[in-house]
Point group: C2
């Protein structure tokens, strides 16, 4: 879930100040409502050393009434604490109804530090994840709002910050040997963090990763998430009245905050036709060899294509399969569910199409429809699509545990490119069947789809089943990248 | 969860016939309602070989309209199936909305046979439990009714049935080498079954263990469970109308069916005063030695006392602690939660009292209040107490994983004995404080409490934290048994 995070995100001072002022006022008002409605609130701040957790917490409490919250710093357990099961000290620090508890590090210490130190492993680690999920689920069922943030910075940035702190006598003490060691072990922690995020992200206690290189950006993103979540919960409460001051429209948020990882995709990538032809042939040949290999070795392969309308899914799939033995693969086009399919769980129609070991299934659109079109068009409830991320991750984990090679492609183009392609489709007679009213309607909801895509990429990019974003303004580049990725994944699997 | 199952339970033919006739009619009517309301129903029949799964399924489908159900027999996976992840074939067999799917064995094969055969172990076994829970939760969230039965017979009964089948040429083929091998491995399967039941029992897909020595009893218990569950679900459905034929009162059920494991507790057990005195002193001395030992070894001990009013909890706890070093233990009396406690999750007040490693906490009443008094008196919702079994098991597992010795006692007396004790309390001046109006009121709800106790003993008797039922009509016997059990558990832990 950390893979696609764009750490270069920034916020200009002026924009920050304006938005922050508004959010401060709202947060104060929300705290009063939370108290009136007896809602307990848990805010967990995790993140790298020197990522700015302390500063952030200071900001967070400034607009709050000090009688209504507690801040808890989680150090290594003291003697009293180490003589009890690890969740004990956190049960002791839960907020009473109507209060806010802010945790500077938390129970996740067990899944990070204790794991990297080798203290917790194997089945015991599974137990830790299970204990944490059960803990959070129980609290959520009991009415707690649970917000979890992970402040993310790069290894280099962390090292740079440590250096800076050391240079100043007043702050040098803050950098410990431990900190330096953690920086050296950054990759180990990174992997443990990825696991932790994937195993404990849920509809009742979701993670938000905060790009923390720019402190203004980090601060505003956290504030905005807290405010939205509390507003949502308060609105759902039975006797809720509108929150004062009245809610601002989302437009009042700085554009930088709502910017998406998709904005950073380099759509200028391209390739000349001659290179393309040459490479294409070579890669297609290689893929055919691999198709044979996986058949012999009985490895199942699942390839998922998602992307904007007119992003080139069809053409891409055609190039992928052009040279394959048709007995070894199947392309499964996914449209709206029919009546038979609607009589089952939404994942049913995908489960029944899972390939036999040794075969390739290519899904032209997929189960991700649940969190894309069904979410945006309101074909399922909010609770349903929020639950779906975890359900999909569970399904994909099941496939991976069986030994499946699973590839997920998001074919990305920008809005202008889509417009050009739509117009071309309308002009060209043999392409006209590809375009209809609905496509134009969907296009109008581009921004809504974009944030659905963003959430999908974040919540379902797991270590075991990451997304690949394919820059598709150039169809030629896109096709080669897809082929490359598939080949790489299968080769990797064959070697293991 | 199999420990307290009384396999001797029987049903006379006449009673069976009468009740069965009624249930047949109801089941047919319920199937029609289920179809109208588009509710998908999943019935899982697991159990020992020769426990009567086939016969039971035949009975179950007789009153049903054959156009509305499917029966699936789960054999070892065929080639098509073994080339896919293990849940695949079950996704393929899910009932459409409004249909009933009956599984003769199921996905639990993976947690039983494959585990005992050593094919699935360690972290992979954890994954299987997790996959199964996720699978069932997804289906339940999607509106499926899930009923899971485990048909239980003893090793001897199973062997006897195999012999009988073998004697008859027409049935001899049904007993395979595999079957005989499983009978020899009964204990291994038993342990795997215990784990399976504990790990996959949930509010959304609970297990019912069926005492299957008597086929009539087994059949009626299953029918009754199916009918109650479907009636409950249909009533909850928004536009539900009363089920035809009209619901019978619970009285129309044969008494044998509603009989409880508590009815079989041998309350005649007693001990003469002299033996008592002698043993008491010895055991108390031994416990004091152990108190020292666990302090040195830093082992935490949690002892839970639950039981009927006037069952002798107080006297029992006094004998337990009489000779202990007061610095090593604490007795925690639990009454109705106060205002501070009510401001938290119901488990909070117990979590914060968890003993330090090396110390003993004795709870006089406990977290089980949630599924006893709070359930019966309506102090919490049905969803809340149904969820609580799993929450409590999770908490206890957390304690066990930390190395805690956990003992849970149910002090059992019969209704007459309680009456005698109540009267004595009212007669004796220095005991009068112990009795009040509420005690008499609770006594009137004896049967309701009894079925709550029964459910508690079943759903929270796990391999890692089993209940001990203490026969308490004789206070002297009860005190010795408690002491014995505590000493045995601590000694066992010290040896391990």
């Amino acid at each position: 879930m950390l893979e696609n995070i764009d750490l270069s995100r920034k916020l200009p001072k002026e924009e920050y100040k304006k938005a922050k002022g508004e959010l401060d006022l709202k947060l104060g008002a929300l705290q009063r409502r939370v108290k009136e409605l007896s809602i307990p609130v848990i805010i967990v701040i995790e993140g790298w050393g020197a990522a700015g957790k302390g500063t952030l917490i200071n900001e967070l409490i400034l607009p709050l009434d000090p009688r209504g919250f507690n801040v808890y710093t989680t150090l290594p357990p003291n003697e009293e604490e180490s003589l009890r099961p690890f969740l004990w000290r956190f049960w002791n620090r839960l907020p009473a109804r109507g209060r806010i508890a802010i945790f500077d590090r938390s129970w996740y210490r067990r899944a990070l530090n204790d794991r990297v130190d080798g203290e917790v492993k194997g089945a015991a680690l599974q137990d830790v994840f299970r204990d944490i999920c059960s803990f959070e689920r129980q609290l959520a069922n009991d009415g707690n709002v649970i917000l979890k943030f992970f402040l993310h910075i790069s290894k280099e940035e962390q090292s740079r910050r440590f250096d800076k702190l050391c240079k100043n006598q007043a702050t040098a003490w803050r950098v410990t040997k431990e900190d330096r060691k953690h920086n050296k072990q950054y990759e180990k922690y990174f992997a443990a963090t990825e696991d932790m995020l994937a195993e404990t992200d849920s509809d009742f206690a979701p993670w938000t990763v905060i790009e923390a290189h720019d402190r203004r950006f980090a601060s505003l993103k956290v504030f905005n998430a807290v405010v939205s979540e509390l507003e949502g919960r308060i609105q759902k409460s039975a006797h809720a009245q509108p929150v004062q001051p009245s809610q601002p429209s989302p437009q009042s948020l700085p554009a930088a905050l709502t910017a998406s990882v998709l904005d950073n995709v380099d759509l200028s990538l391209t390739v000349d036709r001659e290179t393309y032809r040459e490479k294409l042939q070579k890669k297609q040949k290689r893929l055919r060899e691999l198709e044979h290999e996986i058949y012999i070795r009985r490895i199942p392969v699942v390839i998922v294509f998602e992307g904007w309308d007119a992003a080139g899914k069809g053409g891409n799939i055609r190039r992928l399969t052009q040279n394959l033995d048709p007995r070894g693969y199947v392309v499964i086009p996914i449209a709206a569910p029919n009546d038979v399919e609607k009589a089952y769980h939404y994942l049913w129609r995908f489960w029944v199409q899972i390939p036999k070991a040794g075969h390739i299934s290519i899904f032209d659109r997929s189960w991700y429809g649940r969190v894309l079109v069904e979410r945006v068009e309101g074909f399922c409830t909010e609770a349903e699509w929020k639950r779906a991320y975890g359900e999909i991750n569970d399904m994909e984990k099941h496939l991976i545990n069986f030994g499946t090679v699973l590839l997920k492609f998001w074919l990305h183009i920008d809005r202008d490119e889509q417009h050009r392609r739509f117009q071309e489709r309308q002009r060209t007679e043999h392409k006209r069947w590809k375009i209809n009213e609905e496509d134009w309607r969907n296009r109008d909801r581009w921004e809504e789809y974009k944030s659905a895509v963003e959430a999908m990429l974040f919540r379902t990019s797991t270590r075991y089943a990451p997304w690949t974003i394919v820059e598709s303004n150039s169809k030629l580049h896109a096709r080669l990248k897809t082929l490359d990725t598939v080949i790489g994944a299968i080769e990797g699997r064959l070697k293991s």
